[in-house]
Amino acid sequence: MNKHATSNLKAEKIVGGVATDQRHDSAHKHVSGTAVYIDDMPEPAGTLHGCLGLSAAAHATITRMDLSAVRAASGVVDVLTAKDVPGENDISPTGRHDEPVLADGKVEFFGQPIFCVIAETREQARRATRLAKVEYKELPFVTDIGGLDPRKDKLVTPPLTLKRGDAAAAIKAAPRRLKGKMRVGGQEHFYLEGHIAMAVPGEDQDVTIYSSTQHPSEVQHMVSHALGIPSNAITVEIRRMGGGFGGKETQGNQFAALAAIAAKKHHRAVKIRPDRDDDMIATGKRHDFLVDYEVGFDDEGNILGVDFMFAARCGFSSDLSGPVTDRALFHCDNTYFWPAVHAQSAPLYTNTVSNTAFRGFGGPQGMVGAERVIDEVAFAVGKDPLEIRKKNFYGTSDRNITPYHQTVEDNIIQRIVTELEESACYARRRREISAFNANSRFVKRGLALTPVKFGISFTATHYNQAGALVHVYTDGSVHLNHGGTEMGQGLYLKVAQVVAEEFQIDLDQVKITATTTGKVPNTSATAASSGSDLNGMAAQNGARQIKDRLTDFAAEKYQVPRDQVLFLPNRVRIGNQEIAFADLVKQAYMARIQLSAAGFYKTPKIHWNRDKGEGRPFYYFAYGASCSEVSVDTLTGEYVVERTDILHETGRSLNRAIDLGQIEGGFIQGMGWLTTEELWWDDKGRLRTHAPSTYKIPLASDRPKIFNVTLADWPEASEPTIHRSKAVGEPPFPLGMSVLHALSDAVASVADHRICPRLDAPATPERVLMAIERLKGEAKA
């Protein structure tokens, strides 16, 4: 029996429209273990397996590479090197030609892929890889940016400067000024599902690649370049990822390209799934930064001028370092109006893996810099940092121009912070903590409330477009496809809700299908929090085209004016009669009405002139704030997050349940970045934190003991976004800043809050302890 036969034709509302809390579309499959990830797909008969051979030098020319033992090893079918790349040996996503698929004669980081073993089994491929004999002539290398000059040393991509007013003059003329430096660490994505690609060769030049990627179109283009065949022969498909977080925006290209090369060469399916260590060693991470700042302010804590230098460790190639470091500058204001500002980026070359996108895309690093400046000023004038924050917030009608000359038109941070301050009882707890610390010799508590403003849109304006494909079948069921990818964020579900709402049919009538370049072409990465905004609008546009045709058809057939055709839940009212949606669809089909449409959307209003540093790169801003309390053992530096309160907004939410999950998860991931997650390279340039044994992401036991998360119910997007909702992927991530600042507050208590702790990130227990000891020393001196 057709399901639509059971649709409620008398319903007042459809089941599963927008602004309703729907479970994740794959929920049932996730709990029963039946959701299929790429490694779970049945392998075609004869599937081969690949394993990467990684360099054992940070910077070197390869003087000799003897792969004979590898080739002779049991089960080995082939060993690919740079010369086996039939097209271009390059996977630079921005076309800078600085990132080979396989290194050719020269390696630029410890762990760079130099060959790829293809064998009958994965284990045979892995064992054979160890048999390679590679000799290197080592060259000088640099892994850390601490010793580099951001103004002189080698960059991987051109830097950006933002300026408004004369910052140098404003700082010089200010009653008070100070300068400092902050280190902000990087972050490993640690998606639970590692990278994977399976290439299945087809006839002629065809190849289909199942790739765990946030950017199927880019994988398609990269494979096309690497194979030297047109994009139309390459299909890239992804149903779901086991986490992405930005780590699968460009980093899947390598595995997809190698699998495709081997598959076409051997006419057999090829799968490459690096093990966890190789994945962590060979793929990029969040950029770590050194932030130099100078600020001029008055005795009240009003900031008058700021100068920033954001130097980033980019690794050996540009990858996305240009836009990432740009976004750091775009967020060096966070929620604050800088009356005069000068901010510069320095995307520095290092002999480390090429850093890449990670949730927030440089934005959080920019904001952490802004918050450090606030902290410095607060300590300098002897006031609560929250007071300094509020004093320097953007205004609504004035004091609202950003360092990139966009006017902040939708500022709601004052209300967000005021509400959170009350619900979290900030003032009362501030007093209680002071009293507690006065009576507690070793355990000190700290409290902080930090705001977030996050700019929404890709800063590369052309990325702000999306496509969707909507089919209505003759039984009234709908097939939905769009360019966005699902990595757990609930994008598929939200877009399906939009389509259900548009047709006024129950959500279970809308079939969500795997993202594939064959259905929707030339898509943008599912990134920049833009997934629902862009793909929701494109799918709505597709659905509306079909609805328009159905309306025209019904008006003509039933001889009623167009405005008397109304889509009601699971049915359509035409004049005085109501017929089931499925029945109208069938009649339309018989009358040869096209029931399929390609939807499209491009974000209006945005523009950006990078040379001038001026424009409106963001369609709108998303806001939130968090308040955290920690307790620190001042003898060991160990700490516990006692309580966190969050107030965040997503405009008029499409699905509050999904958004709440994103907010909680974003906070926890942000907290991990700023506290326990530390990347460490040794003196050989080797990453030594390449497994969960040495790299510590938050556990269930690390989440705040008390965790109150509220999705504000009053905001709505000021722009006509999809149903006036706002993006939610990245904005909650920097909410984790409140933990860093609460730790800083606890540390400051050992010196009676007179010295700014200048606590760098990640604030590991070790670093917290060192800050405590330093402050104790300074207080004595």
Binding site: A27, K29, S32, G488, G665, I668, Q669, A691, A700
Partner: protein, 157 residues
């Protein structure tokens, strides 16, 4: 390496395999028996995604040789539901949205079932501690803890 016969009792069904002695239980499940619900996260025994039960106790399938499980009762995520009815822990995870990307979920659920059975789900704090061997990078911990608490209460009542 020579292969040896290994008899595995998985989710109440008997399987006979000819495998090398070094094959892990995880690889046996995923690659020989098509039971792909158990996930490979780190393959180092550090993420918990491959958690299964042997004789009712939680073990990491990536650190257990298939041969070690011979003759013992193995339960995987595929074997939790009874006659199409979700196990109460599965139902609680569903109800509480206790996942995002879903990759750690089978391991979380297998750990949760054991955690409750061990009597380690008495309070949120205890649940957080005894579920700390299962990583969730999406940070769905508040929902996971809520789901475990809910299921534990159902068992208690």
């Amino acid at each position: 390496m020579t292969k040896i016969p290994v008899h595995l009792d998985i989710n109440g069904r008997h399987h006979e395999l000819q495998i090398e002695p070094r094959v892990t239980l995880l690889d046996a499940l995923r690659e020989r028996l098509g039971l792909t619900g158990t996930k490979k996260g780190c393959d180092h025994g550090q993420c918990g995604a491959c958690t299964v039960h042997i004789d009712g106790e939680r073990v990491l399938a990536c650190l257990t040789l298939a041969a070690q499980a011979e003759g013992r009762a193995i339960t995987t995520i595929e074997g939790l539901a009874r006659e199409g009815e979700l196990h109460p822990v599965q139902a609680a995870f569903l109800e509480r949205d206790a996942f995002q990307c879903g990759y750690c979920t089978p391991g979380q659920i297998m750990s949760a079932v054991a955690c409750i059975r061990e009597g380690h789900a008495g309070s949120d704090e205890e649940i957080r501690e005894y579920m700390a061997g299962n990583l969730c990078r999406c940070g769905a911990y508040p929902h996971i803890v809520a789901a475990v608490r809910q299921a534990a209460q159902e068992f208690a009542s």
